[in-house]
């Protein structure tokens, strides 16, 4: 069971986690990404490529389901304007055993950061700037090749 959603609505990570407690699962792993308020960030805006985003996330989830024989995979990503503390992304993987769930969850968030067309813009008192992709994100994604 794969569930993908890209929306400007608030993400309820608790509800998302309950939704992936599917029949047959023995282990569920999840990752929740929040807007950090460090360095005076006031808002974070997420832009995306609407026609492509859900397809890219579905492809990632399909790959994870195949590779780890998952029972469920769930990716919910918010777009639009957010404030510190808001949930940006929820990723969940359900499997028969913990190792597959934990690895698949890490794979989903590592690959999402390099394979899905989202762009972040941070606004502080002194102005807005687009976030640059980090070498550490590229390295984290590449280790799953």
């Amino acid at each position: 069971m794969i569930h993908i959603l890209v929306s400007s609505d608030t993400i309820d990570a608790g509800a998302e986690l309950r939704a992936i407690h599917v029949d047959g699962a023995g282990g569920v792993a999840s990752f929740t990404g929040l807007v950090r308020g460090d360095d005076g960030v006031e808002t974070l805006e997420l832009e995306h490529y609407p026609a492509v985003t859900e397809a890219a996330l579905t492809k990632l989830a399909d790959e994870a389901v195949t590779r780890w024989n998952l029972i469920g995979a769930r990716i919910v990503h918010r777009v639009g304007v957010m404030v510190p503390g808001d949930t940006v992304v929820f990723v969940g993987a359900a499997a028969r055993h913990r190792a597959a769930a934990l690895e698949a969850c890490a794979y989903l968030i590592d690959r999402l950061k390099t394979d899905a067309p989202f762009w972040k813009r941070e606004t502080r008192a002194e102005g807005a700037r687009w976030v640059e992709q980090r070498d550490t994100d590229r390295e984290a994604a590449a280790k799953w090749d």
């Binding site: 490529y49 990503h77 950061k113 390099t114 394979d115 067309p117």
Partner: protein, 81 residues
């Protein structure tokens, strides 16, 4: 053409229709050709190491052929999650 993030801001539009000449056969050729359209295009497209592309909604390297592409997108490396 579709543009996202700072590429969109520098060009001043999220999309535009273009009809490049026949000698424009790759994404890289297209970037060179687009850069002459305005100062904003030139600024947005100056540093190819910071550009990524999609042709008909599939991610491709900049040396990819255009073929009969109907939708080409140019954007920075992605930063979601």
């Amino acid at each position: 053409m579709l543009y996202f993030a700072w590429v969109r801001e520098a060009i001043g539009a999220g999309s535009e229709q273009v009809d490049p000449p026949a000698e424009v056969t790759s994404v890289s050729d297209l970037i060179t050709w687009l850069a002459d359209r305005s100062e904003g295009h030139a600024r947005a497209l100056a540093d190819r190491a910071r550009l990524r592309a999609a042709v008909d909604q599939h991610f491709v390297p900049l040396d990819a052929a255009l073929g009969k592409a109907r939708e080409v997108a140019l954007f920075p490396p992605v930063t979601g999650g």
